[in-house]
Symmetry: C2
Subunit: 419 residues, 2 copies
């Protein structure tokens, strides 16, 4: 990585504290990722992106800002990237996946809270995330009590606009979500000075759909036995999708998939167990569960999470001649996401059972971040649905610390022995 200290300093970061983060990340990445055998060549691009995670991409954001462009931070798959793209702004997914940030987050938030929320808050409060410090605005949402109330505190540090996501999926909720998309369009137009037009919104939809299609193509390879790509690598690609340049990302992912096409012709059968992960998102650099599980005789072949299928399934229709038509298309697509924030949320159980079949899984791990009430309570439904189909399921509730890694390993081993 080049020397970005001036850039970081100009962003108002705490360089000394940030150095500590920079000191541990490469080692973690190297031990988790670079030790994998026989990785596709196409993963080199993603290795490079991680190596430059706080460097080159931040420089790109900086250049965009110097040209008068704006950067918008998001934390959730419900925030429509299409709108941000249409206004010529750059969207960066800010979900924070490291224990490093938790301590600073706990300075302003209760300890009994999901590590993801504490981490993103800590990243901002401590001034150790150059993405966060590049943001002109953050778009939050009301997907859970923790985030809903955390925005109130975050607003002391950066302008925040909160999208009010419906809690149900009645017909009036679709209308409500359309209204919220209209409001966020106005907000982004105001921020950027750029008008969102039918043409620019269609272009945004095309870019986002192309990214979704590329991810879907990647996931389709994972249906093969064995998958020609590890769960760890697929997770990394999904994580990078949130903050990389979307056009470049899609091209590089297509190139990787072309390579996987070749690999798929010469698959060597093995006996490793095929697992699905379902539950809460895994933000960079949260590779904890994947690295434990794939260190055993198992492969993760699908994630029914926000850093998995929920991010890319279902495209937005490009049909329509007015902004209203396109907003309706956006609302329709986004409300197809089956997040535990909705009540009821039967669609998620149906998704899980469908994926279990499509990806031929031997078992499911329902993995939730600590103190995430919605997913924790919904576990009962997940378990009931899977048991009816005779699919073994293991619930793991964990945070970003490594204290419980040994215990998790033992529990996963027990699951693997059973199936």
């Amino acid at each position: 990585m080049g020397d970005y200290r001036k850039l970081w300093s100009d962003l108002g970061m705490d360089l000394e504290k940030h150095d500590k983060l920079c000191a541990v990340l490469p080692e973690l990445y190297s031990s988790v990722y670079l030790t994998q055998e026989n990785r596709p060549e196409g993963m080199n691009y993603f290795n490079f992106v991680v190596a430059e995670v706080h460097g080159l991409r931040i420089q790109e954001l900086d250049e965009h800002k110097k040209d008068g462009g704006k950067v918008v931070g998001t934390f959730c798959v419900f925030v429509p990237d299409e709108v941000i793209l249409a206004a010529k702004a750059i969207s960066v997914g800010l979900c924070a996946g490291s224990q490093f940030w938790v301590e600073d987050g706990e300075k302003v938030l209760p300890r009994n809270l999901c590590p993801l929320i504490k981490a993103f808050m800590g990243a901002k409060v401590g001034g150790t995330c150059p993405y966060f410090n590049s943001c002109d605005m953050v778009i939050g949402e009301t997907t859970c009590d923790g985030k809903k109330k955390a925005w109130e505190i975050l607003e002391e540090y950066v302008p925040v606009h909160v999208m009010d996501l419906p809690q149900m999926k009645k017909s009036k909720d679709y209308k409500m979500w359309e209204d919220e998309i209209k409001i966020v369009i106005e907000k982004i137009e105001e921020l950027t000075g750029n008008k969102v037009t039918v043409e620019s919104l269609k272009e945004g939809i095309r870019i986002a759909n192309a990214k979704r299609r590329a991810l879907k193509r990647l996931y389709n390879f994972r249906k093969l036995k064995p998958s020609p790509i590890s769960g760890l690598d697929a997770l990394l690609i999904s994580q990078i999708a949130f903050y990389d340049n979307p056009l470049r990302f899609t091209e590089m992912l297509k190139a990787l998939c072309d390579e996987l096409d070749e690999r798929a012709k010469n698959l060597v059968p093995d006996n490793s167990k095929r697992l699905m992960i379902t539950g809460t998102p895994m933000a960079v650099p949260n590779w904890k569960l994947h690295s434990i599980i794939e260190g055993l005789d198992a492969q993760i072949v699908v994630e029914e999470t926000c850093t998995g299928t929920r991010y890319f399934e279902n495209e937005v229709s490009e049909e329509g001649d007015t902004i209203e038509d396109l907003i309706k298309n956006l609302a329709d697509r986004y409300l197809k996401i089956n997040c535990a924030c909705f009540t009821p949320n039967h669609g998620r159980i149906e998704d899980i059972i469908k994926y279990a079949k499509e990806y031929s899984v031997d078992g499911v791990i329902d993995a939730n971040l600590s103190f995430c009430h919605t997913y924790a309570i919904e576990h009962r439904d997940v378990e009931t649905g899977l048991k009816e189909k005779n699919i073994p399921v293991l619930q793991i509730e964990t945070d970003y610390s490594s204290e419980d890694s040994g215990q998790i390993k033992t529990r996963v081993e027990a699951l693997l022995e059973m199936i």
Copy 2:
């Protein structure tokens, strides 16, 4: 208490398990309440209500049901009692405040959840609450993630209708809440077979307002130095307000207030510290904090909670000639409640500061049930607001168990020494 075993048995309760609850409650009540000195005579009615909590009132519900009437359970101050009254149904507030029910609740819910939710679920799952078993329908709401998802499980045991409470207070949210009130009116009309008319809804509003006014009058006595009624007694009265016959309750409370009028003429000044409780609700029989605090040299003079001011402040206007007018009045009044479920929720901090002055408090205890994210995160705002006014504040997060009682006592003692 009379013999209600046949009644309980007909309600499908678990008599053996319920006996265990019946065995501990009178002792708890006696040690917490009946040891208070110089209580007003008017408290005898409320003693009687507690003594008959699972008896006489349940028999009244039973008689109402035998006459073709319906019983509707609620869990939150946002559910409009006026509508239930208008349809000639009986509303019972089901908030469950005992550790006794938690164990059964944890059979279907995660442990890392607020004790109130685990308790109400346990009361139903274990068949140990005759109120719950008398309910023809429960009206839930989306005030927090825990309850929102718990309704999905509760629905396996009793019909549940969920009111979708807005998460903000923008003008469109008022409209949304009016729509939700319309929907609940239809649901209740369907359940009872009784039409909600302008006249019956006005009558419901009058009954609910009269109860609010009586509670407000009670609270006004607490502004006196010293208050002629203990915090423990005021809390009990608020708790009973949720399930007693509203007309009788209001009359008996008025009689108590008449007695307090007399007492107010001969107050003997004392030096006990005056405290406000703010935070989450305290459901029957959760008297834990009040009994610890008033066992020290302190008096609780106001609760800014759902079992306090949030329950009775602001009346519903009776003005209007149509159902729509009255629904608008209901929405306006209910959305004045400053619950931490809203974002932002500055009104609550303003309320707390206003009450601190009106009730001349020396300090505030921000008391939240464990794992309640919204109130826990909002504590920072509460603390900041109070510190600006130089009002000492102590945060206590606790559940229904008695394990931390000693620690709480020590912390409250430290607060009292400081002020």
